[in-house]
Every structure is written in C-alpha cells, then in structure tokens.
C-alpha cells in the first residue's frame, strides 16, 4: 500500500510539472508578454511604458535562456521566465494581478470562503440526494416509476445549465421572491439566504445526469451473482439493496465523484458569477473580462492541482473501500 501511494504521488507530481509546462507554453509563447502588456496598458502607449510595465510584472526576462550571462553562470538558466514560472508556481508565490496589481494570493484567500460555502453543500447534498433518488428508482426498476424517472432525467439533462440559472433567478427570485436574486454576506446565518437559490439551481441542474448514472450502477450490481445468493439466503429486496448493492456500488460511484470535483470548481464559476458570490469563480470571470492573464494562469493551475489531488484521493479511497485492492 505504501509503495502504491508513493508511486501515485510521484506520478501526480510529474503531471503537475507537465501542466505547468503547458501553462507556460500557452501563456508565454502562444501569447507573449508584449501582447499582455498591450492589453493591459492599451494600444497606443510609448515603448518605454510597455517596457516598464513588463518589468513591474516580471515579464521582462527572456523565455528560456538568458544570454546576458556567461555559459558557466547558473543564472543563464535561472533568470528566465521559464524557471521563474516554475519556481513561483510551485512555491505558491502568485504575484500580482495583471489588471489591477492586487495581490493574487490575498484575493485567493478572500475568495476561498465564499466559494467553499457554496461548493461543499452543493457537493454533499447533490451526492446524497442523487444516491437516494437512484436507489429509489433502482428498487422500482422496470416499473412505470423507473420509466418515468428515466424520461425526466433525459429531459432535465438536455437543458443547458445557463438556462437553469436564468429561469431559476427569474422564477424564484423575481416572480416568487422567495430568495434574493444575487448577493452575498459573510456571516453564516445571513449568507444562507443568498446561497439557497444557487444551491437549488446547482443541485437540480445536475440531478438528471447523476440519478441516471447511479441508477445504472445500482441496476448492474443488482444483476450480479452474489445478489442471487443473498436472496437465496432469505434477504428481502430492501435489505439486498441497502446491505449488499449499495456497499458494492459505492466503488464505481467513488470513481465517478472525482470527475465531478472539477465541475464543482467550474460550475461554481457560473453560479458565483450569476449570483454575485465573491468567490474564486467570480475571480476567474473577472480575470477573463479584464484580460488578466496572471490571475487566469493561477486559477488554471489551481484548478489542475485540485483535480490531480482529487484523483489521488479517489485512488486512495478506492483502494481503501475495495478489499480486493487494499489487501493485494
């Protein structure tokens, strides 16, 4: 188990380095510092303004090799954008925003709270609700309940997330006036009203796909041999589902959860932006509108980091949950 863990972490690290390389290629070669400076300062400034701006934001170094130093001098390679990029990203030194010069780390800290206050309940409630509904539908498989549920799932899956948000805001926020359309408060008891609507919209929009997937997993497990054995022992259908099927189905469900984790990060992007929640998602959207490449770089990096961490966690929990893997 320990050997597996080390190998897994090692590969994860290599992946992080690869992602950083990808980001470097995208943000420094496909678009180069001159473009970034132009976008930040404007098209018609004098060359010195660009140079100064680049210097302020750390873009004034050469890309890969700094020929100003001698061949034997280590700084030939370390005083470059590439090295700097790696060094800073790996040490979580994110610098300042290209748009308004604010400290990215500070904004990250500020944004984390609101983001988590939305994504964590979204994840937990969504998962629990999805599993319960799927269990219910799987129990009644092949009956009209099952067929109706599948139709509903298909319909709800085909509606764009954007439309859920817009209609949710309109129907519940404007017409029924149950919850505020947007906004946020930092005190927990006040924040609840603001989070209610995005939470509702987020859960409902994802429910269709989730229930369908979990139902398929449950039905697959129900058709396995050990379920037949359980019935032959005298287990009732309810016990079969809860004590046997659920436990086994958790394994493939877990593997699927990792795929949803990045969607929490990005789906929250839309939700935060629409509902005015000052979290990391809003930060990203601001960066897009403001052509703020350094912030964007950071957000993409963090997103990847989260995803890789999530995958490692899932692999570990998979190993823990499935005794066949754990004890090998």
């Amino acid at each position: 188990m320990a050997a597996y863990l080390i190998r897994r972490l090692g590969y994860g690290l290599m992946t992080v380095l690869g992602v950083l390389l990808l980001l470097f290629v995208l943000f420094f070669t496909v678009t180069d510092p001159d473009d970034i400076a132009r976008k930040a300062v404007g098209e018609r400034a004098r060359p010195e303004v660009y140079a100064q701006w680049k210097k302020n934001h750390g873009y004034d170094r050469p890309l890969l090799v700094n020929r100003a130093y001698a061949a034997s001098d280590r700084r030939r390679y370390t005083d470059t954008l590439l090295f700097d990029h790696y060094r800073r990203m790996l040490s979580f030194d994110f610098g300042n925003s290209d748009a308004d010069d604010s400290s990215i780390s500070r904004r990250l800290k500020e944004g984390m709270g609101p983001s988590l206050s939305l994504t964590v309940p979204l994840f937990v409630f969504g998962l629990v609700l999805g599993v319960l509904l799927a269990l219910f539908v799987a129990f009644f498989r092949e009956t009209y309940i099952d067929r109706a549920a599948l139709v509903v799932c298909m319909l709800t899956m085909s509606i764009a997330g954007l439309l859920y948000i817009i209609s949710g805001q309109y129907l519940i926020g404007m017409l029924l006036k149950w919850f505020p359309i947007s906004g946020f408060a930092f005190e927990p008891w006040l924040a609840a009203r603001f989070l209610a609507l995005p939470l509702l919209v987020g859960i409902v929009s994802g429910m269709g796909a989730d229930v369908r997937l979990y139902r398929t997993i449950f039905v697959e497990e129900i058709n396995r041999d050990y379920v037949r054995t359980a019935r032959a022992k005298g287990c009732g259908e309810a016990r079969v589902m809860l004590a046997h099927v659920l436990r086994n189905a958790l394994i493939p469900i877990l593997t699927n959860i990792v795929i949803t984790i990045p969607f929490l990060f990005t789906g929250a992007l839309l939700l935060e932006s629409f509902f005015g929640i000052p979290g990391l998602g809003s930060l990203t959207v601001e960066a897009i509108h403001g052509n703020d490449f350094s912030t964007l770089r950071t957000m993409v990096y963090l997103g990847a980091l989260l995803f890789i961490a999530g995958q490692i966690l899932t692999d570990i929990s998979y190993a823990l949950a499935d005794p066949r893997v754990r004890l090998s």
């Binding site: 032959a232 287990c235 436990r247 086994n248 066949r324």
Partner: protein, 327 residues
C-alpha cells in the same frame, strides 16, 4: 410410502420469445424423498438450473411459472405462498448453492459476516451466540482455522474454500432440502471430490435431502441415490443410481452414459450423440429427441411420449420402451 419432501408436478416455465412466450421447461414432474439425494442431469440449456431456481421462486424476471405447475414442499404449494413466508423458507427450510463460488459471494464483506447474515435472517440470536454458531458451521464444512477465516474476504480464499462457505451459508438453518446447482463444475478435479464428499457427509448426518444439478455423470456416481435425466425441457428418464448407470433405457440416457470417456476403453473412438439440442421454441413436435435418436419411428415424430414404468423405481419417457414393456 411416506409423502415426498418435495414434489414438482407439471412444472411449466415460460420466457418471452419473438412472438409471445415460449415454454423453456415443459411439464416437469419430480419427487424427492426425505434425506435422499436426487441428481438432475442434462446438457446445458435443457432447463435444469431454471427448474432449481423456480423451486426457490428465484426465477429471473422475464421468466414465469405457468399453470398448471405445482411445487409441493412439505405439503404446501410454494407457488401460492405469500412472499414473506417464501423468504422464511429460503435459507431456512430450503438452502441453495450455486455454480460460481467466485462471483456468488459478496466481494466487499467478510465471509464470516455473510454466514452470520444467513443465521440472523432466520434466528435472532445475540451477537456472540450467532458468532459462535458461524464458527461451528465453518468447522462443519471443513474450513481450517475458522476463527481466523471468519474475517477473510472471498478473494482471499480458494475456490474450494469459497464453495465450503457457500455450503455453510446454505446449511446454516439445517434445511430439509439443499439445492446444489452444479456446485463442482467450476472447481478442480481433486477439490471436486472433496466437496462432493462433504455434501454426502452433511446429508447423512443432518438428514438433508439434496437436489443436485449437474451435467457430469462422474458426480452422479459419487453421491446420487436417484437420478433424473432431462432433455429439452422435460424429464426423459428417472430411476435409482444403479438402474440409470447400469441399464439406462432412454436412448438419450444411453448415449450420455456411453459418451463418458473410460480409461479402459482407450484407443477406441470417442462415442458421441450426433446432432445438437433443439432450443426452446424450436422443439420438434412429438418426442424432442427423435431427430437424433437412432431408434426413432413414425410415432416418435408426432406424439410426446408418456411415462412408462420399467421397474417400481425406474421410469422412461419413450415410445420404444413403452412398446417393449407392454409387449
């Protein structure tokens, strides 16, 4: 003669087909006396596994038990039993073990706990008493070091051990009938003998009747008291072990016995029955074995044979035998 423990009368099982439903098991009648071991033999696809599942009312969903079937167990018709009572019988008065020990055990639960479930479902004992009972059961089926093995997971056990666990689960409540669906088919030859011996022993000590489904006559020879041969959804011959293995009367049974490779007959040609088993829905009218039967005559192609008693214990479903006996 005392009443049989289990009596299948005209069992008909249907499955959906291209148009409507088609019978897969067609008017099968069987009897098992208390404590006796009956082997139900036939090639794959003849419906023997489905017959076994039907007794437990565990037939897979699209299948249906059609009238005029009757399954009498200990005097009650199982088909009409309300579900909660049927559940009490499953694992209680009737136990069942399956062919693939690999997939028939829950992979994420310790085997001991699975046997524990078999006990607690029928007898609410306090935890410690139940645990002891499970250890007893594991010992009874010959699992070495049962206290340790209680916590083992199925994938850590060999095929033979897994099958022993299955037997422990099925025998937990001292059932009066044990249904074994090809219990040794997936096991190695040496383990096969051990498991069969275990079944024989358990049946002798606990008085449990055994319905053994198999396609292997070697198995039949080891533990069966009586044998019933099934072909294309119906029984074609039944009798005591000695009668069936020594003097089979139905051409199909004869073919089966002859085709078992014998070391003494080395060098000769391997016997075979020409042709293939017809599938449900494609059964010929009349005797289903007629197209492959070397002795078939005109009546065989139009009329299904009825049971002819060849001895007080041997019955054959064959027109030729009927003529021979009544001649």
């Amino acid at each position: 003669m005392s009443a049989p423990l289990l009596s299948l009368q005209n069992l008909v099982l249907s499955f959906p087909a291209e148009s409507g439903r088609t019978a897969v098991v067609d008017k099968v009648s069987l009897e098992i006396a208390r404590g006796e071991t009956l082997a139900l033999v036939g090639e794959s696809g003849c419906g023997k596994s489905l017959t076994a599942l039907a007794i437990m009312r565990l037939l897979p969903k699209p299948g249906r038990i059609e009238p005029p079937s009757r399954i009498e167990f200990d005097g009650r018709n199982l088909i009409e039993l309300p579900v909660p009572e049927m559940r009490a019988i499953r694992g209680g008065a009737i136990g069942m073990i399956f062919q693939e020990p690999m997939t028939s055990l829950n992979p994420v639960t310790a085997v001991g706990r699975q046997v524990l479930e078999a006990v607690l479902l029928h007898q609410p004992l306090p935890r410690s008493a139940a645990h002891e009972r499970v250890i007893e059961l594991l010992q009874m089926v010959g699992i070495p070091d049962p206290r340790q093995r209680f916590y083992a997971y199925p994938h850590q056990l060999s095929g033979g051990l897994k099958q022993r666990v299955m037997i422990a689960m099925a025998m937990a409540m001292r059932p009066r009938l044990l249904i074994a669906d090809e219990p040794t088919t997936a096991l190695d030859a040496t383990i096969r003998a051990q498991i069969l011996e275990l079944l024989r022993q358990l049946s002798a000590t606990t008085g449990t009747a055994v319905l053994l489904i198999t396609h292997d006559f070697g198995v039949v020879n080891e533990i069966a008291d009586r044998v019933a041969v099934m072909y294309a959804g119906m029984i074609v011959e039944e009798g005591s072990r000695r009668e069936l293995l020594g003097q089979p009367r139905h051409p199909y049974a004869q073919g089966l016995i002859k085709s078992v490779p014998r070391p003494a007959a080395r060098g000769g040609k391997l016997e075979e029955i020409k042709g293939v088993v017809p599938r449900p829905g494609r059964w010929p009218p009349g005797c289903r074995f007629a197209p492959r039967c070397p002795y078939a005559f005109d009546r065989c192609e139009t009329e299904l044979p009825q049971r002819t008693a060849v001895s007080p214990t041997q019955g054959v479903w064959c027109h030729l035998v009927e003529y021979e006996v009544h001649a």
